[in-house]
Symmetry: C2
Subunit: 338 residues, 2 copies
DNA sequence: CCTGCCCCACAACCCGTGGTTGTGGCCTGC
DNA sequence: GCAGGCCACAACCACGGGTTGTGGGGCAGG
């Protein structure tokens, strides 16, 4: 479908005349006629009735009208999403099925007026570079990278220590456990596809495996969540890790189990990074939202009870001292003023 | 923006290779390259990074990605809205700012899976013809037309008697009245723009004016709700009629008043008409929704309290006997089984 | 390290879509 | 009945977007 034809259709309807629409679009009346005729031919229905006074919408044209507007709005938003300056707030998340993504959804709900685009960068180095160049506005990362610390012009706000939970099918040996220790996972196969080597997420799982003698397979491409859940649901030996802050849904028949891991609780320390120079108005709102969400217990409760299988891990882990993080993520950083 | 280019961009991202996308789209690899390059040139940013292994999204490409999908979804819905057979449920309303439009909104909220298109036909004759031809699926109309009655293959369901309210600015002589009788409106100028002569809505106001000696000006084109409200808010003598079921919002400064009209209460008797042959699955859901909404007091309350200026007219009018309708709308019709 | 392969971009060419001008038919209102 | 709008059809033309052919650049394997 030709968006110019759609735009022309709207122009004709709003002015009521082909010729007037032509003037607005700076083309000839004949071109307007051709465009509308082509659109009608493509759709197979008549959109406008031509009278001696001009044109008005047929029933099909009336039904098409709001969709035509929606189409052009979508086009405008798509263009705006990549326009430098005054574009949507662009936030980098380490993964789509971790707490930051869920937090962004709640942020979007409470601030629907702020356009939001979510991207995923390769690693923290790329994120910091993108923050400094203004390509992105904020990034959820672990505060410290291996062997280095943040530049001075990057702000950081600790947001959430997200516990890792085990996700198994009903036939798994640990399916009925109320909780497991990391040490008990030794020998079990844990499959976490879609982890790109070299990223901090890969480093996290490598450290976790080394610390407790786990077998974590990060091989294989990520075909999406559904195939992963299908595989885990059917397998008696394969399990996977999910963040406690994820909002997973699966078919009833899968009968999956989310099992908290305690003693110690492996957590991933999400922080928000941003450039101190960035003037984007949505950025302040995001930081305020996260600061509030981090302290309000209601949000933490909503987080842990995500998929209908309530767990107490999220709250207990952040309050309890017995947590585990990789060495390179252990030291906390300054917490700047908002 | 060329939707084919957007589609090509998505194909490249999903397959990861220009050549593979070319195969899927049945064009050459060079054409894919050209399309993406043209899109990038139009947007002014690079969307894909080309590597020896294929292509992957840049940050801008990632941000653009969901908008690209939304664009194509909007296109698909637009096409589906006019495709004969299996198209969205298409409902005719007599006006956008009357109770039926509000009822359709509540219906859409409770059945978001049912695609809905709203149109406005010229008059009841056109509506019945469109119902019988399958061009529309349902129509909110007054049951009886002047001098005729419904064909046998058209079903009818009385939905709501909607009281008419007076809308005035703060300087109007009746601005402080808690309620007025129709007779008291004689001599006041009442302006209802956008009424097309020959329609049943025009006949309704003509009958109302004749019955009580009112001055109702239905002249002039409809420039939309905002100009009407602007005019009424500033005028000490001009008022307008609105349906009690409308959900009007206006700027705080306007300080408009919705004044119930009682003694008798002019109501418009909305019924739903549909073709008994129509198999559209959404139609049954709509009829059930309306049947439930007509009996549940919660909906009636939500209706009358629409714009933040609570009125008791909707409920009292439907329960009280002292209502007025035009002679041609007075007799009730059969109420068929759902 | 060189070579071959794979993948994408550039160049030249060519057809068809979509613009223009010119004109005619139809309805309406004076 | 005639004049004035308004839209559709026809002929023409230009350029966008397709094709084929070719070149450059990065990995991988010998």
């Amino acid at each position: 479908m030709d968006l110019e034809a759609v735009r022309t259709f709207l122009a004709v309807l709003e002015s009521g005349r082909f010729g007037q629409a032509a003037d607005e679009l700076s083309i000839t009346q004949q071109a307007v006629s051709k465009r509308v005729a082509a659109l009608e031919k493509e759709l197979g229905v008549r959109l406008l009735t031509r009278t001696a006074h001009g044109a008005e919408a047929t029933i099909d044209g009336q039904a098409f009208l709001p969709h035509a507007r929606a189409l052009l709005h979508a086009e405008a938003r798509a263009i705006a999403s990549v326009r430098p300056g005054s574009r949507a707030l662009r936030v980098d998340v380490i993964g789509r099925r971790l707490a930051p993504a869920a937090l962004l959804r709640t942020f979007h709900r409470s601030h629907p007026e702020i356009e939001l685009d979510v991207v995923t960068l390769f690693d923290a180095d790329a994120a910091v570079a993108a923050l400094r160049s203004g390509t992105i506005d904020a990034s959820f990362r672990a505060v410290t990278m291996p062997g280095r610390h943040l530049p001075e012009d990057i702000g950081a706000l600790p947001v959430l220590d997200e516990p890792i939970e085990l996700l198994t099918g009903p036939a798994h040996a640990l399916a009925s456990a109320r909780a497991v220790t990391p040490a008990r996972l030794a020998g079990h196969r844990i499959w976490v596809p879609g982890i790109v080597s070299g990223t901090e997420w890969a480093a996290y799982y490598a450290d976790l495996a080394a610390e407790f003698g786990l077998t974590i397979e990060v091989t294989g491409p990520d075909f999406g969540t559904e195939p992963l859940l299908d595989t885990v649901a059917d397998s008696p030996e394969l399990a996977t890790f999910v963040g406690a802050g994820t909002r997973l849904v699966w078919p009833e028949a899968h009968d999956l189990r989310r099992i908290p891991v305690h003693g110690p609780t492996p957590v991933y320390p999400h922080s928000l990074l941003w450039s101190l120079d960035n003037p984007h108005p949505g950025l302040l709102a995001l930081r305020e939202h996260l600061a509030a969400a981090g302290t309000e217990p209601s949000d933490a409760a909503a987080l842990s009870g995500a998929s209908g299988t309530p767990t107490a891990s999220a709250t207990s882990a952040t309050s309890g001292p017995d947590i585990w993080t990789p060495s390179w993520a252990r030291q906390r950083t300054r917490r700047p003023a908002l």
